[in-house]
Symmetry: C2
Amino acid sequence: MKKISVCLTPQLLSLYEVSDKVVVVVDILRATSSITAGIATGVKSIIPVAEVEACRALQAQGYLAAGERDGKMVEGFTLGNSPFDYMADHVKGKTIAMTTTNGTLAIHKSSKAKEILIGSLLNLTAIANYLKQQPYDALVVCAGWKGNFNLEDTLFAGALVEKLTDHFAFDDDSALTSFYLFQAAKNDLMNFMRNSSHYRRLKHLDIVDDIAFCLSIDHFDVVPYLVEGGEIVAKK
Amino acid sequence: MKKISVCLTPQLLSLYEVSDKVVVVVDILRATSSITAGIATGVKSIIPVAEVEACRALQAQGYLAAGERDGKMVEGFTLGNSPFDYMADHVKGKTIAMTTTNGTLAIHKSSKAKEILIGSLLNLTAIANYLKQQPYDALVVCAGWKGNFNLEDTLFAGALVEKLTDHFAFDDDSALTSFYLFQAAKNDLMNFMRNSSHYRRLKHLDIVDDIAFCLSIDHFDVVPYLVEGGEIVAKK
């Protein structure tokens, strides 16, 4: 049986061998949810970068620039971090250069994996189905928050583990814990999240609609993945 | 209200400010359970050290030496890592030099804390009661396994958080997650642990009795803590 493990934060990724695994990077609030929403609704591709300056440089080459700092869209950029920005008519068919901190770090640190998929609750079943039909062990890499554990990414990990119980064995205690966390939360994810540090941090920024959307399961049937050169596109 | 947070592995401890907190170090299988058992039943004090050689040096000064490597007692030592070793008649009144890897690292990395307590399920309520009556925020430092998250230390964190809900606010997502994990496990800790990586790793070493003992709650009413100079003794 294939195995699934869960890396709770990129800080712990050095403890995992990634080169023989498919990695699912998750940053529910909001990078990987926004990428999923964009790629599912017509964005051509997304280039994740760590720094605002790298994003500006790509903007100068004609890409749309996306990103926030301290909860505000970077000055001169076209999109913020809200998934709704990535579903707007004016971004369809375009390539977006996106600066995120936690999400980009998780992708970068996973670069030796067999393949890097972009996961979110929005495309949970699509990711699960893809993992079932490919031959490798799976590793969920939670982007976390500034290096530390967070609730929402771990909930995704648990939801994915639950979907895969017939096809993958739990390979570590974090997979097991994610599973049980999701059991406690799944009947009302939004209410569960109200106790999280992220919700408390973000609710004053008026992004409760974003959070509710990011917690909706299987809104899209798409598997975004990283291709050589660092762009994220949809699996055909 | 005071706050409680949970550091899931020593690898993440740099993300926490410890200098204004009381730290509870936990390594359920088996270092802090063994320390608790020993200190509760008449061991005078325990000196935790990282390396076998440092332990041998203390043995040469007349201390009892304790520790295992690869599941076997170190040659020439008097005790292994089993909590039953620490409750034997011949160790009462003695000072034990103990080499552990995960547990000692957690203690060492917490050295700037207001105070370092040694926690286990065996003295859960004693630790909770002590934390209630002192003025500082609390941080549980899970020793984990080779730097990574583990189930049993997180279960202890959840059990402690549950005991303290009226006196401490959850300060991070890991405190919340520990709490829910313990809710899923508490009716049958041993059965829950059978799925853990540690159980799978250790059951062939014939230490199932150790595990069962280490999962028993409130066997002792003792608060072991670290005093200057690096010895662990009982709070009076």
